[in-house]
Subunit: 214 residues, 4 copies
DNA sequence: CATGAATGAGTTTTCATTCAT
DNA sequence: CATGAATGAAAACTCATTCAT
């Protein structure tokens, strides 16, 4: 006689189900093409409940970005041990990064593709996370320079550019690895490590490539 | 004093105006959020005329992608002289690339961000252009290895990964340079050149960075 | 005294209201000239609700055709008793037909005029109903021939043509009766019955077919 | 050096070309679905010229109706000789009618299907033609009654109904004959003549009306 | 006369969002 | 809490119609 339908679940659990559904939908369809109807159905709840808990499509998207950004930084952070030498830290961080993005392609799509193209507000959320990672890499570069017994005389903007390039390369490689069958997180990390570390190494030793006169 | 509404223009001119408006709108709002109304208004024409000339939102977007992709590859191509050594070619190409993307941020947004996430058809248009560039870079790496008197014995996937990382880093740096006031195309190119060339140089000399045992 | 906006009705009721409005609008304006706006307003609901329940203009039109076709065949079917002689069956059928079309002029317009000229799919829906009626009439003609102790040696195409003419005459008379004030369903049925059963020739000779007492 | 393009044709000729194109387009697509673009292109002229000569879509449609109605009545009129007996006149008229509608299916579609469902004004144009034909048939019935030495004591409305039924049957049979391969105008006329003149009753008794030798 | 250029007004359709129960 | 009922606002797209040349 009793319908088996509604398992009364605590709010926190329901919210996670909704976010799971939202991340998946936003990641695959894109922000605009994702409909609240689809998200609610995928989450197994009614639409008004989504609004009750998450308030609006914007807020829901923001919540997705925050959760996924937190999960990604947490994955990288917990993959790195700060008592290690700089190259080992970079390697561990890259490995954790590529592993996490490979395991959460929808979340990565939300962060890398969707969030950046739908208004300043969303982009800012991601930018915050990105800056955290760039700061981490920047510091690694400085430490590496010190470890190489070099004066940290690299100009600040130069270091920032290098970190930016490294993170950008990582992001592109993550997309490439996700899309290319047979490329593992480990291989992607090794490729980038080769590219980056050896290049930086040259720099550290004082032989930067010199651009020709304009 | 200035004519507010310039009327009765030849079709070719109007089409370019429409494409200008469309690139700007698509680049800033994204494909889905861009409305044909807004594009038409920005172009200074009525919606029906946009449809008469460009046929549909899809076709309009495709036309934007084609025009911008052509302009970008043309800019890079005409900036490079193939009778130069590999490092010079890469430098010239990067400079042309960063210069063009800095001068056409909306076009770059269309190619880099928007076109990739709205259906296979659009992504394919961009992928064709990107592959052209990746192939160019890949070949440069091989030539550089030869110029360095090294056997071109780098495994193919390794080279592909390196080229991908380089192009990805360039793409990210372009966005960074566009978003960071005071960073010139020349500086972005120099940063990446340092990063890439020195790193590859190390590789060429046979001392790649070795990942630790898992 | 009358509620102007009756709200929150169960779906089944609302759907019938929408179909009522749609039949009326399609019947009077035609399929293409009928706008979903007008239908929604006439039904007293918003357009999105019409789409939520009926899906599209096509589907809405199909639903109208089905409902009206079903209602008409049901009216004729329940007006005829198959244990009666052929002439009585024809009379009863015609009476039911003219009565129903007189009471539902818009539905009749949808079936007779609109549905036939807007694509194979719609026409097929009506053709199915029409063929059912033509088959019924065809069979009546054959039975009548047998009852008159005649060999049923009329060639098949001849009978098909006769049935077609009879049904066509009925359809036209229905429109005529609807458009001519003072013509009752009974009169229309009697006219056609005379025409069909006795023939003009018989009429001339003074032996018209006489309808049974009501 | 001179373009062969524009043959200066007299206005009357151009107008007929436009009407030809319009009848064909209206007949096949329907009034609303027919676009002025398509008509102009089919006529081989520019759209503004259509407006210059025919003024508007409404007026163009009205002109089509008038031309086709005139052609049809003229065909019937010239097929009948009023010095013949009534049955011969009816036969000749039916034959002319079925022949003309078979040879001008688009025109017949305009009159029979399209004009009736797009507003009172158009329907009235057709109604005028139809009444002319109904009047002709009505008179034939009266004459036939007289020829049969019967008092013309049929009530007026009865006669009107009979004529209406006869015309309606003819219209339906025309559509049926157009849609059924292998049915000739002559066969359609014979079927209706049998039906109308002899009646089903007569048929049953074995004395069908016989068409005169061609 | 003839036409390429141009548009106002409307069409179907979708979606985020809100109540009443 | 949970949900079926309901909508305002806007999107893509079309078409009859008009000028300037």
């Amino acid at each position: 006689m009793g319908a088996v339908k509604t398992k009364r679940m605590p709010r926190a659990v329901r919210e996670q189900q909704m976010l799971d559904a939202a991340v998946r939908t936003f990641g695959r369809r894109g922000y605009m093409a994702a409909s609240m109807d689809e998200i609610a159905e995928l989450a197994g709840v009614s639409k008004p409940l989504v609004y009750l808990y998450l308030n609006s499509k914007d807020d829901l998207f923001t919540a997705c970005i925050r959760r996924e950004a937190h999960a990604l930084t947490e994955a990288v952070r917990s993959g790195v041990r700060t008592d290690q030498p700089a190259d080992r830290q970079l390697w561990d961080g890259l490995l954790a990064f590529f592993t996490h993005t490979a395991e959460n392609p929808d979340g990565w799509s939300v962060l890398h593709l969707q969030a950046r193209i739908h208004g300043e507000a969303f982009a800012a959320e991601v930018a915050a996370m990105r800056e955290e990672i760039v700061a981490f890499v920047t510091q690694l570069i400085v430490v590496a320079a010190r470890e190489a017994h070099r004066d940290p005389d690299l100009p600040e903007r130069e270091v920032a550019g290098l970190a930016e390039a490294l993170v950008g390369a990582a992001e592109s490689l993550a997309a490439w690895a996700n899309a290319t069958p047979g490329v593992t997180a480990r291989q992607a990390a090794a490729t980038l490590m080769n590219f980056a570390w050896a290049g930086l190494g040259e720099l550290m030793e004082g032989r930067p490539w010199a651009p020709p006169a304009p």
